[in-house]
């Protein structure tokens, strides 16, 4: 049996190796090659050196979309991390059966088609004709320019994003909470610790691996945001909510500037890689893995 270990491992890994190579790793490499060209798919490819990469740092629309992306991502990550945790803590206080009902409801939007529900949310957010502002007016407040104002638009995307996707963070927290041994809480009780102190000294430290996982996932996801601005605002007003991904899509499929779009894609790839490495390194400082 032992003799065939290498061969067997290769056989079992072969499909994965092929699909990952063809659909993932080779495309990444070719992305670099295309980024050095002025390819537009209709005419033959010309190599133009690094000018597409230079343009990343000189074209102000690229820079502004990055800024927008970071702002949006930052907001989304913070909101999901906190609201998701609050939801999980609340749900934990109920009986098993009720807990599972709540859990299903809270998680439900996460599994629905973004493209579909976002269409509906446009009508909810519409400033003059939408239903959210109607209720605000009923309360005697004035209209909020949800999708019109360059600042409010972040809020709107955040609201939609929380409604749609917070279920993910929530669920991970719930699982994380479940794994904290009951004995720790009992010990805290005996020591006479209050609820705030129990949370600070037991729940939170024990939960750090989950928080790390959630934050990392959110960062990776939010930096690639596409659907939310695409459906809600089309990137507007102006460029206010145009994320890098949306911009990249437009450069590629409206301008047919595949070279520059590839350069943007590569830059996004590096930004994500740096994010991940930094977070993993930083996690050593605050994530506690020494649990029971």
């Amino acid at each position: 049996m032992k003799r065939h270990n290498g061969r067997d491992a290769a056989l079992f890994l072969a499909p994965t190796a092929v699909t990952y190579a063809v659909f993932l790793y080779i495309p990444i490499v070719s992305c670099f090659v295309i980024a050095m060209s002025d390819y537009d798919i209709l005419s033959p490819l010309n190599f133009i050196g690094f000018s597409n990469f230079k343009r990343l740092f000189t074209y102000d629309r690229t820079l502004s979309t990055y800024l927008t992306t970071f702002k949006l991502a930052g907001m989304v990550v913070i909101l999901h991390t906190i609201i998701g945790l609050m939801m999980a803590l609340i749900v934990r206080h109920f009986h098993r059966r009720f807990q599972s009902v709540l859990r299903s409801i809270y998680y439900l939007p996460s599994i629905l088609t973004t493209a579909s529900v976002a269409i509906a949310w446009r009508y909810i957010f519409h400033s003059d004709l939408g239903i959210l502002n109607y209720f605000l007016r009923q309360l005697g407040l004035s209209n909020i320019p949800w999708l019109l104002d360059p600042q409010w638009v972040y809020g709107s995307i955040a609201v939609f994003s929380v409604w749609k996707f917070v279920g993910g963070a929530f669920l991970y927290y719930l699982i994380g909470l479940e794994t904290i041994p009951e004995s720790l809480y009992e010990a805290a009780k005996i020591d006479g610790a209050g609820s705030v102190s129990t949370f600070r000294h037991i729940t939170l430290p024990m939960l750090t691996p989950t928080i790390f996982f959630v934050v990392l996932n959110l960062c990776i996801g939010a930096t690639q945001m596409f659907d939310e601005p695409f459906f809600l605002t089309g990137g507007g007003p102006g460029d206010a909510s145009r994320t890098v991904n949306l911009f990249l899509y437009e450069v590629a499929y409206k301008e047919f500037n595949f070279g520059y779009a590839s350069a943007i894609a590569i830059s996004l790839f590096f930004v994500l890689a740096i994010f991940t490495i930094v977070q993993v390194k930083a996690s050593n400082k605050w994530v506690t893995y020494d649990r029971a």
Binding site: Y20, I90, L108, L112
Partner: protein
């Protein structure tokens, strides 16, 4: 079970809060359902309704089918999601098997290469893939959606975590009985990791079903469109005139993921916990 020491009032407040969140979560969906049954001429009439009130205009649903080939979208989405998920699960399970149950050098780097794929934005690969698909004449076919979707690193991760918990004695017993690795994989290990398979399968199915970006780029004609892309067509200045009809389409399109969720949610939640997503 109670973690913190709550008085009855606090418990009551918590219940209210929990219900409020549930309500906020459900309201938009209820609004979609109620509005999709409204008379088109008053679909956006204020105040909005959150519970369908008679008369129910089922005609709105008929109108969706008049303007869009909805069955076709459904079929395309279904074919893409089912095939991509099935193929991906088998490939991922094989990889996980190689990574957990066969002793060989270099497991860790290989696993890392697979995991690193999770960090790769779809946009980095989409342009080269688009060019390759063009050259292979696969643009505007369901293959262009299925093939790239066979890569799903999370499944390898989940399955590997789960397989690692199965004691090696199972394999050894089978080997003594003369079973080869293929048999061990198919007959012994695979049935044991069913919970992980279910979870990874469901998550991937939903991901593929809901994907908008790839179809947007790879699909041109209506006959090959998947549900999310097809629905998008109702929008725009030449789009459908009635919001009720658009929302009827929206509601129809979220029914399949909803059903999958209802059927499998128990596995999803528990499988994710057991799969080791703990950080």
């Amino acid at each position: 079970m109670t973690v913190l020491n709550f008085s009855k009032i606090r418990k009551g407040a918590l219940s209210l809060l929990a219900l409020a969140i549930a309500l906020l979560t459900l309201l938009p969906i209820l609004w979609i359902a109620a509005t999709s049954l409204r008379e088109p001429s008053i679909s956006m009439k204020l105040p909005p309704s959150f519970l369908p009130k008679p008369p129910f205009i089922w005609e709105n649903y008929a109108q969706v089918f008049k303007s869009l080939p909805f069955f076709l979208y459904f079929r395309n989405s279904f074919v893409v999601a089912v095939v991509a998920t099935s193929v991906q699960l088998i490939f991922s399970a094989m990889a996980a098997f190689a990574l957990t149950r066969i002793p060989w050098k270099g497991k860790t780097p290989v696993f890392l290469v697979i995991l690193a794929a999770m960090m790769v934005p779809a946009q980095v690969t989409i342009i080269p893939l688009f060019i390759v698909m063009s050259k292979l004449h696969l643009i505007n076919t369901l293959y262009s959606l299925i093939l790239p979707a066979t890569v799903y690193p999370l499944a390898v991760f989940l399955l590997k975590q789960f397989m690692a918990t199965i004691p090696a004695s199972y394999d050894e017993a089978a080997h003594i009985d003369g079973a080869g690795r293929g048999t061990v994989f198919w007959k012994i290990i695979l049935p044991m990791v069913k919970p992980s398979l279910t979870v990874a399968g469901m998550m991937h199915f939903l991901f593929v079903w809901n994907d908008f970006f790839r179809p947007l780029i790879f699909i041109n004609s209506q006959t090959k469109m998947t549900m999310p892309l097809g629905l998008h067509v109702l929008q725009g200045f030449m789009g459908a005139g009635s919001i009720s009809i658009v929302l009827a389409g929206v509601l129809l399109s979220i029914i399949p993921p909803f059903l999958i969720f209802m059927v499998g949610q128990k596995y999803l939640m528990e499988g994710m916990a057991s799969g080791g997503i703990k950080g």
